[in-house]
């Protein structure tokens, strides 16, 4: 087999893995969008916030210690204990639920019935706010996150492919774990929305706010629930990306990467988010591999957007989205 083809296969596999991670972020968007019609730009920053909180709790950092030190003087930094990762994850989930409740009570409740674009801008404001709060709480330096996930090259795949093609594929263990976790998460979400009372209520709200309200479903509760679930998805995405490349500001930019994924897959479809993520992941890696060297490289920055842009012109609702019908 020619070398180029084997390399292309390896690139494709890695692209699929990266696509799973994009899909993970995109999932959080789809959940909130389906239930409340809000396009939550802050999803990426929520992932950053969750990851930073997790690191902070695990290392026993004192929240706002920088600010306290700067304003009152003193040298507080750590409580002096460390928290095992499982407990820390539970505590972070609690923080994300609290955050969801605050967002609902302080922001979204007052914006019910506004145009979607106003809500979108409000979440951009929320993103800035959360980013500032996260930095004030835990400090803005790059942190390493290690919750005990396996990392490094997968030797089994390396050896097997070496046996077949005479060339070992480089696949990160972390990517494999991420794929498995993403699959579990999606299954869990589907089961939750199909078979539980709250899940059904959530789908009812997504279908028709007023009808749901009239049969006695509390919109407030559902929206807090949805934001909490989105916060949980953000935490999972934050752990994956944080373990991969460190917890830092660039983590919040994955939200921007998830946008073209959504546009490809359709804003309202969970399978769409996954398929879209895979297409973008494979597409940008292959494009960089095949065309990138000819035009100067680093095409990953824009490929996804341009692909989505071209795609939108032909199919505005995305691959799996509901057809957009305008009534006058």
């Amino acid at each position: 087999m020619p070398d180029q083809l084997i390399f292309a296969m390896e690139v494709t596999l890695n692209g699929l893995m990266a696509g799973v991670l994009y899909a993970l972020v995109a999932l959080g968007f789809v959940l909130i969008y389906k239930a409340s019609g809000i396009f939550n730009y802050a999803q990426g920053v929520m992932a950053l916030f969750a990851a930073m909180t997790l690191v902070g709790i695990m290392q026993g950092q004192v929240p706002f210690s920088h600010v306290i030190n700067a304003v009152f003087g003193g040298h507080i930094t750590h409580f002096g204990w460390t928290v095992p990762s499982f407990v820390a994850i539970l505590m972070t989930v609690a923080v994300m639920v609290l955050l969801a409740w605050l967002v609902q009570v302080l922001v979204m409740k007052h914006l019910v019935g506004q145009e979607p674009i106003i809500l979108f801008m409000a979440t951009i404001g929320l993103a800035y706010f959360l980013e500032g709060v996260a930095d004030l709480m835990w400090g803005s330096e790059i942190k390493t996150l290690d919750v005990g996930l396996p990392q490094g090259i997968n030797l089994w795949i390396d050896e097997t492919t070496f046996g077949i093609f005479g060339y070992g594929f480089f696949i990160d263990n972390l990517d494999i774990v991420a794929t498995v976790i993403a699959a579990l998460l999606v299954t869990g979400l589907v089961l939750f929305s199909q078979y539980t009372k709250q899940g059904r209520a959530m789908r009812a709200v997504a279908d028709d706010h007023q009808a749901a309200l009239s049969v006695g479903i509390s919109l407030n509760f559902i929206w807090v629930l949805v934001w909490s679930v989105a916060g949980f998805v953000a935490l999972v995405a934050g752990i994956m990306w944080g373990t991969k490349s460190g917890v830092q500001f660039s983590l919040s930019l994955i939200a921007l990467k998830a946008l073209p994924v959504l546009m490809l897959g359709g804003f309202t479809s969970i399978p769409g988010a996954i398929v879209g993520g895979l297409i973008i992941g494979v597409g940008e890696k292959l494009f960089e591999f095949l065309i990138g060297p000819m035009v100067g490289g680093a095409t990953e920055n824009w490929f996804a957007y341009v692909l989505a842009l071209i795609f939108l012109v032909f199919r505005p609702q995305g691959l799996f989205g509901e057809k957009i019908i305008e009534r006058v």
């Binding site: 801008m121 404001g125 800035y128 959360l130 500032g132 505005p316």
Partner: protein
């Protein structure tokens, strides 16, 4: 008492359709122009011009441009940073290719080129709308920044990948490069801002502005009463791109002097200008000024209060700034979706009746 229209009779159509029909407004406008052109240039020093006045003037132009697109025509764009970069690089190429031509012409041409690029990236707006379009304009943002980073022709094959503004003059007065006097750079930008503001004000008052607003309010209804959506949207993109391009050209050549595209014209610039438009007021020229002034002054004030008075470290103040800007955006959207401009309108209504409220 002072601000009223009673007794202010219009005897001709020309008088009736002037930009500021109320006498008080008109005199205030003349007074502002007189102070800006006649008094400020003699008072300013380097610090004032570089920290406050130049960013304000340049961002105000960008905000007017984006306001035409978002506030008047309802097409949300997140590509402002990329379009400003087009203006900057167009200006740079023109400045280095034709050194003897006046800077006025270069900046205007840079605006024109940006207008064309903006129309190109605005084409999808015919098919998609709302935040689908917002995301589509992100493609422009990332693609353009990448293009200027990777294609050496745009930065004249310089080793650093940066572009540096060569020294150019207008009527013998240096206005770009490190030797430019502060008042000259101020005047140069002020002239462009005045020109843009008058043009935008009159465009939005006239037929063109009304077709834009019809598209914004309801595009299907607009189409039925005979507004051509293709023409309306494309002109909005073109005019908006023209203004944004001018501001990008000034930002590079007069204000910064040296630019690294990813840093100066990144996605954050797009959001900054969008925030100016939201905080100032969607669909208001005055709002663009107010928003630009607000977001230029806020960091300066926070820095003076936080770093100089309270002695906090700069990074904490920078984070507080994020929190405050974010909170302000949300507060404005909840309490006053029409921005600072609406507060100004309410104040004017109150002033009309003052001191007799009935």
């Amino acid at each position: 008492m002072f601000y009223r229209e009673a007794g202010d009779f219009k005897l001709s159509y020309v008088e009736d359709s002037q930009t500021f029909p109320i006498k008080f407004d008109r005199y205030r406008y003349y007074a502002v122009l007189a102070v800006a052109f006649g008094v400020v240039p003699f008072l300013v020093n380097d610090y004032w011009v570089n920290a406050i006045l130049l960013p304000f003037l340049i961002y105000a132009i960008a905000a007017i441009g984006l306001n035409i697109l978002v506030g008047y025509c309802g097409q949300v764009s997140l590509g402002t940073g990329g379009f400003m970069a087009v203006g900057a690089y167009a200006c740079y190429k023109l400045m280095t290719a034709f050194p003897e031509v006046s800077m006025f012409i270069h900046v205007l041409l840079a605006g024109g080129i940006t207008g064309l690029v903006c129309v190109l990236f605005g084409l999808p707006s015919l098919r998609i709308k709302g935040f689908y379009l917002a995301v589509a304009t992100l493609a422009a943002q990332f693609f353009l920044v990448w293009l200027f980073n990777r294609v050496p022709w745009f930065y004249n094959y310089s080793a650093s990948g940066q572009i540096n503004a060569p020294e150019r003059d207008v009527f013998g007065i240096i206005i770009t490069g490190p030797n430019a006097p502060a008042w000259a750079t101020y005047m140069f930008c002020l002239i462009f801002l005045t020109f843009c503001a008058i043009m935008a004000r009159n465009l939005t008052r006239g037929t063109q502005g009304r077709t834009w607003m019809a598209i914004r309010d309801m595009d299907i209804a607009a189409e039925i009463i005979g507004v051509n959506p293709l023409k309306a949207k494309m002109t909005a993109f073109a005019v908006s791109g023209f203004f944004v391009g001018i501001s990008g050209a000034l930002f590079f050549s007069v204000y910064l002097g040296a630019v690294e595209v990813g840093e100066a014209f990144g996605i954050n610039k797009s959001f900054l200008v969008l925030f100016m438009v939201i905080i100032g007021g969607l669909g208001s020229i005055f709002g663009s000024f107010a928003g630009a002034a607000f977001l230029v002054l806020l960091p300066v004030i926070l820095k003076v209060v936080g770093v100089d008075w309270l002695g906090w470290p700069t990074d904490i103040v920078a984070h507080f700034q994020l929190v405050i800007v974010g909170a302000l955006i949300i507060t404005f959207l909840i309490l006053e979706p029409h921005g600072l401009a609406q507060l100004w309108r309410v104040a004017k209504e109150k002033l009309r009746l003052w001191p007799f409220p009935h």
